[in-house]
Amino acid sequence: MNKLYKILMVFAIFLGSSCGLTDLDHLDDPNKVTPDNAEISLFFNAIQLNFKDFFMAASDQTMPVVRMRAMTGGNTYNNAYTPVSFNFIWNRAYSDLLPDIDQLISIAETPGSEIPTYSGAGKILKAYTLMTLVDLFGKVPLTEIGQGVSLPSPKADDQAMVYASALSLIDAAIVDFNTSSAPIGSNDLFYGGDASKWLKLASTLKLKYLVTTRLVGGSASDINGLIPNLITSIEDDFQFKFGTTRTNVGAGNANADSRHNNYQRQYENGAGRYLSNYYMWSLSEEKGITDPRLRYYFYRQDLEPELADAFTLDCNSIPRPLHYNGPYPWCTAGSYWGRDHGDNAGIPPDGDRRTVHGVYPAGGSFDNGLGGSVQNSGADGGKGAGIAPIMLSSFTHFMLAEAALTMGVTGDAKTYLEDGIRQSIAKVMTFGAMDSKADASLFPTMEDIDAYVNLVSSNYDGADDAGKLDIIIKEYHIALWGNGIEAYNAYRRTGYPSGMQPTKEPNQDAFTRSMFYPADYVNLNANASQKAVTDQVFWDANPADFIQ
């Protein structure tokens, strides 16, 4: 018995000295913070940055179909995109933006300590996100979202319902901003906490809503009610301003590089994307006079692409195909080295030679016409301090021009058109100063601008109603550089600009009337199945084959 007792004592020591080994309460991750440490201003920071990413990605994915950048992912509309290419947008919207905005609103509406400016801003950004999701994909989930593993397969909701809930969010935001409260101040990257500007944005987004849905019941009188309070001067532009901080290029660091995405892609060592021959041609050659924005939009690394060898630019030695017998560029747009629509050929070593984004809106280089590579590890031009042009005053004018012409909204369509062009040019020209090496003698003069506006105006005067709308949308298309979303919406809504360059492969399949659902949605959600790119979104009441 004595012996047994001693053995038990030994075990007692062993167990007693092992407290650190027997503690099973290691459930909170020591490397993370618990949710009760949330800080509303830090949430708003994340929302603004994710919103920027969402916009940039949605814009980037829509630009190729409307020939704003080259469509090189495939040679037909059906193969130019894969469902995987939309995962980023979907993730940013649904797992980043919307939960964070809901959290922001819930903190900002805590009874007794309300901060209506935060909740208002959150609602506006949420509304924009929802509308854009419908614009891209059609039916998307809303009512069943955000519940984690307890509802793993949210059902897609009716498109018009999602759109309408965006509208009611905007209305709720207007109420919030009209409630006096502490401003959000410097924490607000868009408007520095100026509630009046947020209110203008709210009205302009309602304008966007009404113009976009005009084929399915947009109302002219509703628009007329908005006119006094729209974004009509470039000081009120809703844009995201990038920084110049360059971090960890190519080394896979999580911390964000603060520069414009296209600057990061094209001004380091990579070639980035091909620009669109058609879009560059629209500014450089189509009208017979040079667009005042041309040297701001595009930078030519090589001024003489026609001298490139057959390997680097094979189309130099290939005759223009028969189906390109229209007013289209072929191979390059003169000295502007991009790609034709749907050219998915392999990538030759032309990274330091093809035309790249210029100073607007990417914060790159102003084209002094001297050539030379910009792949200098982020040293060139505006160092990436560009903008994401989400909703600019010029856009307001083009929307009003369309609304005046087609819906009878108050005001003269032509005046709106001219104001749109002038505001766009003025906005773009403010970027000249960003590139210290820009040759100021190449900046457009007032005469250049007048000549351009006058040409458009006289063309406008000579056109019938359809032609007038074509001209309005064409100018909108040019002013939209950097914003593929509005260009894609306008093309599907109006069918303009007409006569854009067809795909390089003849016998084209039907145009992308909405994007593939993201692979993450289709593969991970039991209630989701892939759709056709020919599916039309609810506000696109046009015939099935009216654009290509």
Binding site: S18, H26, S258, N269, N525, N527
Partner: protein, 1067 residues
Amino acid sequence: MKKLSLVLTMVLFCLGITIAQRTITGTVTDDTGESLIGASVLLKSSSIGTVTDIEGSYSLEIPDGDQTLVFSYTGYAAQEVAVGASNVVNMVLSEGLELSEVVVTGLGIKREKKALGYAVTTIGSGDVNLKPESDVGRILRGKVPGVNITSTSGLAGSGTNIIIRGYSSITGDNQPLFVVDGVPFNADTNSDRGFDAGGATASSRFLDLDPNSIAEISILKGLSATVLYGEAGRNGVVLVTTKGGSVGELDKKMEISVSQSIFQTEVAGIPETQKNYGNGWQNDASNAFSNWGAPFNNTPEFQTHINGITNGGRYALGEDGNITHPYTFTNFADAFPDIKDSRIPWVAQDAVAEFLGGTGLVNNTSLNIANKLSEGTSVNFSYGYLNDEGFIPNNNLERHNFGTGLRTNLSNGVELGATFNYTKSTRNTPPATPIFSSNPIDGASVFSNVLYTPISHDLYGWPNTNPLDNSSVYYRGGNDITHPLWTLSNINDNEKVDRFFGNVNLGYQITDFLRASYRVGIDGYTQTQRYTINKGGSQVPDGAMNTSERRNLIIDQTANLIYNANLTTDWSIDGILGVNLRREDRDRVFALSTEQFVYNLFTHENFIQHSNFSLNRVENTIGAYGTVSAGFKNFLYLNFQGRNDWTSTLERDTRSIFYPSGSLAFIPTDAFPNITASEMINYLKLRVGYGTSAGYPNPYQTRNFLGTQTRSFVTDGGTVLNTNTVDNRFGNPDLEPERHTELEIGIEGKFFKRRIGIDISLYDKQSKDLIIDLELDPSTGFSQSTINSAKMQNRGIEASLNIIPVSTNNTQWTITGNFTKNVSEIISIADGIDKVLISGFNNLGNFAIPGEPYGIIEGSRILRNDAGQPIIGNAGTYQQDPEQGIIGDPNPDFIFNIINSVNFKGLSFRFQFDWQQGGDIWGSTASTLTGRGIAGETGFNRFVPVIVSGVKADGTPNDIQITANRHYWEDTGVFYDENRMFDATTVRLREVSLSYSLPKSFLERTPFGSASLTLSGQNLWYKAVNFPDSINFDPEVLSLGVGNGQGFDFVTGPTAKRYGASLSFTF
């Protein structure tokens, strides 16, 4: 004060009590007087036992009293002897009726193999020591049925994947538990980078074991064998006993053994390239990435080509057979004024063969000193040195292993044993980031840019470094490919490990039927990694330095009460009751610096951008277990085991789980001895085992946390933004352990005078509530969670056949065949989820799909009509199916190994063939070399157009002519994953060795006890029969790294072969 008295009690207890104990020694020989090595000596009805040494001697401590010793040896009749007054018991065993082998089982307990109801494979030191491989995992390849071992790459020190009886966890860990001298041993493969950034060839931490210091390895495969290890043992257990840890079995007074090995490492296979066409595209010379350029000036096509040429491009290939030097760029003009515009001959070079044709030396020295100080007290000291160079420069592994083992009997009857091991290693390796078809995905790789070296390029003759700024220079416009030789001298991955592991154990025989034991083991290591990239390359142009330090510590304590009793003359019973506490701490600090300031200086302060992070994780497990083993006479054995675990990784309600197991062994030849009369059947055993286990999630999966990030953005005005977010991972408080159950049946037998032996196991392992890292549709508000839901099964056969065609006095020839077949099936995943990515990329990787085997490969496919014919597009080439789909199954149909061993007097010749049937691999090496016109098969006349077989959109047969270049690049090359799949069936000469031991008579007048010379080689020949011949590809690579991915070759380094000689002596 209370605590002090407890300690005093223990000290008094330890010192003050003596227990009557005696030591029995003796020798075991056969009828002819030859000593029997490894014969088992057991104290009857206990777990006390030993085996005889090389001289046939043993020494065993037994408690006083009436005791019986049981002597047994494979193929010999066991004998029992009652111990009398004498402390010397010699035994003569005769080759006979009964077969008994002692194997190490769970918790290191030695048992007669015949009493086990499950399969255990034991590998002796002879199969592990003096091998060309430095990695114990790789040495075991092909030697253990049911175990699939794959190297990640042939680079020295690269990791090794070990899978026992199939993958049974979908996204969790499927690697076995390593237990060294009774203590869990961390065998993680740690990398700072994912496979996509070069982590695939990271080393596995069992690399810290010196194979030459290993005395024995036992592999516990099924759950009925591993249940005592708790959930950690669910993937099988590799029990390693070191020489230091087995010191108690030493009998000779002193023995010093020394061995020295020298091996050479070479690449296992070099691709053969075509020699007719050079760098270019569409039969024109140009600075393409590919080799579809102009014919060389010694080919018949050259003249025709030159006559038809209109635009020679920048290369300006002329009738003189020269081209303009590809380095003729404006921006190289200052660096290489002599090269610009110079003309060089347009001829084939052999750069790839030269680069991969290098050799490395492996130098391995080991020393082992064992000394028996007195009866019951022995020490062992070992030291091993390894310098293992790879086949390419700057790849090496240097390792020092020190080990000490001590065993003594204290005068109070307490047995005390301890082992201490220290390992120090350094590894260097060039970067080997995955490649799809050109430059690395993320980071840098030496292999991609070497393998795709244009045939016309003089890799070694042309400069690789710009003398003005030390940057890489190469032939492409834009300088967008890093020169491989620049990569080799400017990018390095260095790893250093300091590791201590050891244990102290105490044993005490309380009564003749009760024994107590306690062991505390520690396994701690510090691993530092340092990945350095000079500025000036094209992938990471500004340079980077990535360092990390990992500190891992396992403290493992077990206390056991071991009992045994003879209930009646027929029935015996024994078992264990015990507790186990295990704590695993992991700390990690990581620093990343980018934008190098001064070239070639690697200090963090020499970089402009810095970011750091740290991580720590604690995991505690408490286990309590018990076993009961009952034996009836000597032919029926019944065993029950159960363990309950409590984990710190789950919430209180779900953290406890009990898992039972049971097994039964029946030996008909002992129950009915007259079966054996004819010598047709000498021995037969039937066994059945049922086991269960669990699996825990990684720590911290059950709770939500706040996403935070600092310096998310810096505004144009310089304001730094930090952020809070709702984290994208959904913490699942309802998470439970996953559950595995396994039924195993087996038969073992010896036939025809023991000339034929079989050992066959069939198992059926069902896994449910599997923990999966589930990607969520982001519309759930989250992108990831960990849930319990998936279900899968593994069914398989492992069979070992042993044939002794020749057995005479001085010649013995043994053939062993090992057959492994495992069939897995995913039964379900989760509601609404039809697939989960296991490893790789979402659009190309290993997936779990219900109804399919584990890890089936999905990727892009070509568009086909309903009849399965490819639909050819207007361009005359295949088109992509917008939906990805299944393109291959990486699981082998079976693995078969044949080991032949012939012993003739002092000569021993051994060779091992491995045959893997089936198993698909996505092969970047083979498809890209073909698609880029490098492979030997692509030297055909390329001026003849091609029509791809298939139908046009209207259903008519395709008649569109395209160039060979286009067809190979798009249709056979790298465009569609479907076309990049290969069957990995491989036949291989895994191992050959010839060794000669000097006869004892010869050594009598020398100080040597034994001396031998061994010539050996590993992976000397292989043939992957379904790969293009010219690629010479060895599919035994894992470009997704150690883990759950399989069947991918992303050009992360070819395999190696090694051969050389070892000398060993004992004094």
